[in-house]
Symmetry: C2
C-alpha cells in the first residue's frame, strides 16, 4: 500500500460543495432512465425542459479504492419531482455487501432509503447534522424531501465497491413521493 500524505478539503456547510475539487460527477435525468416510476413524466421533462440536473457528487482526491482507505465525498441533490416522485440518487449496494457507510447531513432536508435483498425497506430522515448509518448489507439511496438543495457528506470503506446494476434492474420496493403537501413512502408499482 502506497504511503499517502495527509490532506484536507473544505466543505461548504451551506451548499455541500467541496474545494479544492478534483472530480464532479453530474447525474442528469437521462442518466437515470427507468429509475423513476413515472416514465411518461421522465420523457416529458426531457422533451420540454431539457436534461434536468438531478444531483452532483463532489470528490476532493482520488484515493485508491483499496482496503483500509476511508473514501469520502459530498452529494448535492437538487429539489424537484419526476411525476410525484422526489429527486433521488441512483442508489446502490456495495459490491462487497458487508461494507457499511456513514452520512452526515450538511444542508437541506432529505432521507436515506435502505433496502435488503429480500425487499425490506427502511427510511431514515436527514437534515443538517444528522449522522445516518448505512449498516452492511443495505442498499442506499438518498432523496431530497425539501424545497432547497439537500447536501450531505459520506464516508465508506475503500474496498466496498459499488453495485449499481442490481438496483437498476430491480429498483427499490418503496419510493418517496409528494402527496398532500408532504413526502410519503409508498409501494413502488414497478418493483421487480
Amino acid at each position: 500500500m502506497a504511503l499517502i500524505e495527509p490532506f484536507a478539503t473544505q466543505l461548504d456547510l451551506q451548499t455541500g460543495k467541496l474545494s479544492p475539487v478534483t472530480r464532479i460527477v453530474q447525474r442528469r435525468l437521462s442518466d437515470m432512465r427507468g429509475m423513476y416510476a413515472d416514465t411518461q413524466a421522465e420523457n416529458q421533462i426531457i422533451a420540454q425542459e431539457g436534461d434536468r440536473l438531478i444531483y452532483e457528487v463532489y470528490t476532493a482526491t482520488e484515493l485508491p479504492e483499496e482496503e483500509g482507505q476511508v473514501l469520502h465525498c459530498t452529494t448535492i441533490i437538487y429539489p424537484g419531482k419526476v411525476g410525484d416522485e422526489l429527486h433521488m440518487t441512483k442508489g446502490h449496494y456495495h459490491a462487497k455487501r458487508d461494507r457499511g457507510e456513514v452520512y452526515v447531513g450538511l444542508s437541506g432536508e432529505g432521507c436515506v432509503l435502505l433496502q435488503l435483498e429480500d425487499g425490506t425497506v427502511r427510511s431514515v430522515p436527514m437534515g443538517p447534522g444528522t449522522a445516518a448509518y448505512v449498516p452492511p448489507y443495505w442498499a442506499h439511496r438518498t432523496v431530497n424531501t425539501g424545497s432547497a438543495p439537500f447536501s450531505f457528506f459520506s464516508a465508506w470503506p475503500g474496498d466496498a465497491g459499488h453495485d449499481y446494476a442490481t438496483i437498476e434492474r430491480v429498483g427499490f420496493a418503496k419510493i418517496m413521493v409528494w402527496r398532500d403537501g408532504k413526502a410519503v413512502l409508498v409501494d413502488n408499482p414497478r418493483y421487480k
Copy 2:
C-alpha cells in the same frame, strides 16, 4: 456478521455533542499523565484547580468493532493549555496500521497532528467544514488551537483498532504550543 438496523443520531453542529448518546468518554488531565511536555505545569494544575477536563468523546451506538462497519463519533476538546502546550487528545496509531480515518470539523479551531513511525510529523489545520484525511500508517492527535471548544466528527474502519501505547511511550516528535499570540509547532523535548 449480524444484521444491523439502520439508525441515525443528531450532531449539534454548534457544540459537537451528539444525541441520543450511549457513551461519553471523558479524558481528564490525570488520564494523560506524562503526555504534556511540562510535567510541572501538569502537577500544578491538578494540585491547584483539580483534575481538569481536557476532552470528551461522544458515541451514539456501540457498533461492533469488525471489518466492514464504519465506526463514528464526535470529539470535543475544551480550550486551554498545560504550560504553553495546547489541549490535545491522547493520540493513537490504529492497531491495524493500514487503516485510515476521516475527520469533519464541526465547531471551533484546531488541527490534527499526524506522525509516521519514523518520526515524520505533519500538521493539518481544521475548522468548521474541514474534512481532514488521516491516511493509513499515520498516528493522529487533535489539538484545540482556539479559545472556544473545538469539535469534530470522525469515521474509521471497524477493524482498525487502537494502539494508544506506542504514543504513550514515545510521544509525538512535535508539539503544538502557544507562543507570541499564536499556535506554533515545535520540537518535543521529551520525544523518545
